[in-house]
């Protein structure tokens, strides 16, 4: 496990997300309404669609293809057709940078 510099904090609007690719893996990094940052897998567990095109609503991310939703803080699948949770990753902010542990 190592901490990776993913992006600047101001690159992600509040209540939104961006995609971050690292060593062949895709992550989604979220800026929550309370100001905190979170990180999950970047692909929906249902059909592997990129979550970056989805919609963040408070603490949920909705997949752009089939409207599956997840709690991005825990990765929990909240709405069909997703049944499998997203993996989540630790996040810290240092000097205006978002770091994820992968």
């Amino acid at each position: 496990m190592a901490w990776i510099d993913a992006c600047a904090t101001d690159e992600i609007d509040e209540e939104d997300l961006i995609r971050f690719d690292h060593e062949g893996k895709t992550f989604a990094i979220y800026h929550a309404p309370d100001g905190a940052f979170y990180c999950t897998d970047g692909l929906c567990t249902h059909e592997k669609v990129h979550l970056e095109d989805g919609l963040v609503m408070e603490y949920e991310i909705e997949c752009p293809k089939h409207n599956a939703t997840f709690d991005y803080r825990t990765g929990e699948a909240l709405r069909a057709p997703a049944c499998v949770n997203l993996n989540t990753y630790s996040v810290k902010v240092e000097a205006g940078r978002v770091m994820i542990e992968v």
Binding site: E47, L55, P64, N67, R79
Partner: protein
């Protein structure tokens, strides 16, 4: 070679092998902030529309009951039937996406009611519709293809009166109520969800049994005019609008500009259909709520084929294609793009485009 639309047949395997069955689809470039604004949910439009819908249903059914058995009740039953047997189709659909209301429970409640009216198991159809959006009009993968090739015109005609759909729906309800899941359903419903489909089917069977019992006790069709039969006598509008969605267009492509149709329609039909006449837009961006689709259409129409100007125009375009498909099933209508649009991926679609109309 004839198309095999079964989900467990050779075309299904072929679609997977050649990469047609995939969750990738063309979508028009649109700035993230603009898209995010269009995707925002709201309760108010759907609450308003739902009050209008159920208010009209109570009014029309009430007058129908008051005038029963006079033929003067017929127009009110026909109006009630369209709301029950057609408007509920679009309510089922939009709520399955979870985009009609902002509040999830509201979506779920209306979804359950609309599924009951349409005799579509809420569990099965949620999954089948997810597959429809993943593999839109991919032969052997999409369980919701309304117009197959060659088109079964007599079956389509019967469905204007709900006959095939409702018969199938009631049959599947009894099948599921007996504790079984059909093998084709099992292809797209996860095992963990299957008991829910059985439970719903049993509840519905009990409701229908009570309605039929009431009809027998009162020796009157009236209870069935309110529950069940409107699925037949009110189905025509959802078939009329539903056939336009993909009829006569390309199959086995992943660009929804090729396989879907946007049509401008009158305000009453738009209310019944909940704006699904913007069908290319809906397939390209299924997260956009029905009430924002006109705005989405304005934002991306430069990249889409010109919409058909009316329901009549859509059928005038579609009918000759369906007739020709009776003899030559590879034939389809290739939609032309405006000069401002990004081109189709001709390389990927070459096999389908080879038989396109000029």
């Amino acid at each position: 070679m004839a198309r095999d639309y079964s989900l467990l047949g050779p075309d299904a395997k072929r679609a997977v092998q050649i990469g047609l069955a995939a969750a990738e689809w063309y979508h028009t470039d649109i700035p993230r902030k603009e898209m995010k604004a269009l995707m925002q949910r709201a309760d108010q439009p759907a609450i308003r529309d739902t009050f209008i819908l159920f208010g009209c249903m109570v009014l029309f059914a009430g007058i129908g009951i008051a005038l029963w058995p006079s033929w003067w009740s017929a127009p009110f039953w026909l109006a009630y039937g369209v709301l029950y047997g057609s408007a509920m189709d679009s309510r089922w659909h939009e709520c399955s996406h979870g985009t009609a209301f902002k509040t999830r429970q509201y979506n779920d409640w209306l979804y359950q009611v609309a599924c009951f009216c349409m005799i579509r198991n809420p569990v099965s159809w949620r999954w089948s519709h997810a597959r429809h959006h993943t593999d839109t009009i991919i032969v052997g993968r999409d369980p919701e293809i309304a117009v197959m090739r060659p088109p079964a015109l007599f079956r389509i005609f019967l469905n204007f009166f709900g006959i095939i759909d409702a018969w199938h729906g009631w049959g599947r309800m009894l099948y599921n109520a007996s504790g079984r899941i059909h093998p084709e359903e099992a292809d797209y419903i996860p095992e963990s969800e299957q008991p829910k489909a059985i439970r719903v089917a049993r509840i519905w069977t009990a409701i229908y049994a009570a309605t039929i019992l009431l009809a027998l006790v009162t020796w009157s069709l009236l209870p069935l005019m309110v529950i069940g039969l409107p699925r037949l006598y009110g189905a025509w509008h959802h078939i009329m609008t539903g056939l336009m969605q993909h009829g006569g267009l390309a199959d086995n492509v992943t660009d929804h500009r090729l396989n879907s149709r946007t049509v401008y329609i009158n305000p009453i039909s738009r209310f019944i259909y909940w704006n699904m006449n913007y069908h290319v837009e809906h397939h390209m961006f299924p997260m956009v709520p029905y009430h924002r689709l006109p705005e989405l259409h304005e934002a991306i129409k430069h990249d889409l084929p010109a919409p058909n100007p009316s329901i009549w125009a859509a059928y005038a375009e579609m009918w000759p294609v369906l007739k020709r498909q009776l003899a030559y099933e590879d034939f389809f209508l290739k939609r032309e793009l405006p000069a401002s649009a990004k081109p189709y991926r001709e390389d990927f679609h070459a096999s389908a485009l080879g038989a396109a109309a000029e």
